[in-house]
Symmetry: C2
């Protein structure tokens, strides 16, 4: 099995959401996959230090931590709580990355959050995101963590993420050191963007691609549009052009498959991981120029 | 009733989809609304000449005809059929506009269409749109019809409309005379766009705003995302900033309310039109600087 697994493939834990941390680590390692992206909830379930030990024991590289953000609320206790929670997420990211196998990366994915309750002030909400980044950047820098702003598909702009395009994420990141604030390039969220290829090139030029994530888009959308992500190859996303654009920037690190899908979640996690391995090989690997991630060649 | 109806409000017939043409015209006129946008299917139901007579008899201005487009398929009989159908839609637009009350406008709204069956070539599909515009522009010019490219929300990019932003629509229109190829500015589709205000300003500078349409965005989205449009004021769209941006360009013609919503469609059309009148007054009218549309002041 291991022979056919792309060494740059990382399983984002959300793809096997109902597996606990132990199961997720085991299923990923047993399928021959070299790395994993973790979510906070299952890490908290066992406790951070235990999670770090389990991750170390798995031998897997750690690729991203999901997720921080949700800081569009204006001032007050709710905003302080959101910022404090992001500070904890930064520390957790650093702890997990330090414990995991050589070549791990300390990347915290940020989903900005939607419009505050009863607000129509989209421009203001976006400004709150910039302010939050300003508050958090020193903490991230001190911990050696990269904050990866994730633009989400515009269908989530009101209730989940006011950052809707890669270009907008890059504009938000512009004032910060690229090692501290980068972006998440996720095919599902940006495939439709008329500027997607030039924005990916710009992200590369500006040194901002913290992580590249893949999954597919298919219609009709699921009734809950949040759960409308699919295995690469099941939909209409052109992984050839998007992956080639990311590769052309020199990005040569791990690539996560992150899928939210009720039917995939209901499947056996071992089967899901094996299916992801096969689909990654057929849809993404042919467009990669580097067979081994740079972060696995030498410890950073 | 008439005293409180904004003279720039136009009812797009889709808002009362289950009303036939006679009912739609009557309900609109009886509510004191001065104009209407029509759809092809109910016009075809009675026949074009009859529809033109009925429209003339209603005394209403005609604001847009919905819709042409769906021309992303590559060459072959399917493409010829699509282009021919658009030629007929252009003629129908001109006929209806000529029959309707003074101040009517001959505007054909274009929804580009999605990816062809089994295709992942989004860039190619967008090129097919440009080619279709090149084929149709001479016909539109000869008939005095403006083709109004409508960018649709990116959640429709794969199955309905590969034109996803106002900026992209303007790029497509750029090679054509603005009186022949313009754009549709619909709040539902573009409110999320980080560039929306600058794109509206650009559309104005380039003389491309053929029509301004309003309805609201609310989550959770309807299970069929096509039917997720709401009365202005029921959701999170900031009609103040968008309407002010459109007004600032000098746009001073009619403004359509176009809503696709199962529950609104199931309501009595007279009640729906009255509700639209009230909501337009409270959400859009306060941001208008012109109380009477320019196209109603003198016959073009």
């Amino acid at each position: 099995m291991t022979g056919v697994v792309d060494p740059r493939l990382s399983i984002n834990q959300a793809t096997i959401k109902h597996a606990d941390l132990a199961t997720a680590l085991r299923a990923t390692a047993e399928a021959g996959v070299r790395c994993i992206g973790l979510w906070r909830e299952p890490v908290h379930e066992v406790g951070l230090q235990t999670a770090a030990s389990m991750l170390a024991g798995s031998g897997l590289r750690f690729t991203t931590y999901c997720r921080g953000g949700f800081f569009t609320v204006p001032g007050g206790p709710q905003r302080r709580a959101a910022i404090d929670d992001n500070r904890r997420a930064i520390e957790e990211t650093a702890t997990l990355a330090a414990a995991a196998a050589p070549g791990s990366t300390a990347i915290l994915v940020l989903v900005a959050g939607g419009l505050p309750e009863a607000s129509r002030d989209l421009i203001g909400a976006r400004e709150r995101v910039r302010e939050a980044l300003e508050e958090l950047a020193p903490d991230a820098a001190a911990s050696g963590v990269t904050l990866a702003i994730e633009p989400l598909h515009p269908m989530y702009a009101s209730d989940r993420c006011v950052v809707s395009t890669l270009g907008q994420a890059l504009d938000l990141a512009a004032g910060f050191d690229p090692s501290v604030v980068g972006v998440t390039v996720d095919t599902f969220h940006i495939w439709w963007d008329p500027d997607v290829l030039s924005s990916i090139a710009r992200a590369g030029r500006e040194g901002r691609i913290a992580t590249y994530q893949v999954c597919d888009w298919k219609t009709p959308l699921a009734a809950d549009v949040l759960l409308s992500r699919h295995y690469p190859g099941d939909g209409i996303i052109d992984f050839a052009s998007l992956t080639a654009a990311v590769e052309a920037t020199g990005y040569d690190r791990d690539i996560e498959v992150e899928i939210f899908n009720e039917s995939i979640w209901a499947s056996d996690p071992d089967e899901v991981v094996r299916h992801v391995v096969a689909r990654f090989s057929s849809t993404v690997s042919p467009h990669l120029s580097q067979s081994l991630p740079s972060n696995a060649r030498s410890r950073p």
